[in-house]
Symmetry: C2
């Protein structure tokens, strides 16, 4: 339990045994069956989830009830509706499990207390959000400036493990495409 979480944490800020133990008191574990929700749109997001095992997705649903995947969360990733978490506004995303999953949960109060009391946790948080920002920026840049072919290729090379584990129509959704279009893109690419 918590092994991946602390591995991740220690790779960013080296912790002592005591610090690890202290942080552990703030954490809880949660198991989620495939298709279960971690968060539903409209609810307030009260935690940050670190994925120890399994796969989740965050997505929004538009007025035509089309789903748009905002983010995948596989092992080692953190997933949340950060806006809702930070502001207390109702969540605009749903988060659910694509596979049976195990999560390390940091509640809002735990997060705040750790930020106040443990400088290393703040550093960890800063590095995490910086990484998330850079990933998001890369994605946005490719969305507005590259062809759909390139974007798909980039996705595959950057996240091969996601491409292997997630149905293709979800990758289409993540890219803002219809499943049909992605299918045709793949055909075009393979015949070249």
């Amino acid at each position: 339990m918590y092994t991946l979480f602390f591995q991740n944490l220690n790779s960013k800020v080296q912790l002592t045994e005591e610090e690890e133990e202290q942080i552990k008191t703030y954490l809880t574990l949660k198991k989620l069956r495939k298709k279960q929700y971690l968060l539903q749109e409209g609810d307030v997001c009260k935690m940050i989830a670190f994925v120890e095992k399994g796969a989740l997705r965050a997505y929004s649903v538009d007025e035509n009830s089309n789903e748009h995947i905002i983010q995948f969360g596989l092992e080692g990733w953190t997933i949340s509706d950060l806006y809702s978490f930070l502001t207390g506004e109702p969540a605009t995303y749903n988060i659910d499990a694509l596979e049976d999953s195990e999560l390390v949960i940091i509640s809002k109060s735990a997060h705040e207390e750790l930020l106040q009391t443990m400088p290393k946790y703040e550093t960890f948080t800063r590095l995490n959000i910086t990484g998330a920002y850079l990933a998001m920026q890369r994605r946005l840049t490719s969305t507005i400036s590259a062809s759909v072919e390139e974007r798909y290729q980039d996705f595959i090379t950057l996240y091969p493990h996601i491409a292997q584990r997630v149905p293709q129509h979800m990758i289409a959704s993540y890219m803002g495409l219809t499943p049909e279009t992605l299918s045709r893109i793949r055909k075009r690419i393979s015949s070249r």
Copy 2:
């Protein structure tokens, strides 16, 4: 000088006089004439710039030499190629001034020293990057899930001051559209 910068800083982490003075020793001012570069693609980004006055843009240029605006930076905003800044890799963006501008410059060494020595600066940095992440996420979400009309409306209501100050074709570029398309979108919207 530095007034807006410290206003911004104090609104996030309340500083003492001494702390302000200490931080000041790490900062430099830079003026940029309209059209001047702050950063060119291929160079390593060695600073973070806070806009005291004026307006800048960060943009990439694709193989067809089309420009894609990644970010605007008006008064109170921070602009940089963060990936290049953090990794030391060559920048993939250009940053230049849309108007005569005044910037508060934080060099890489200044940034790192402040992070090490002043917890409040780390908090400030964390809050800044968090805000930038949320803004980026909002933009990405609207890009993949809303119609072009909605996206334009959202942009106008969210950033009315930008819409007033930058040419329309740059907003088109920011949205990943051609100037012609944005012009037609505006026409459609106004005739409703």
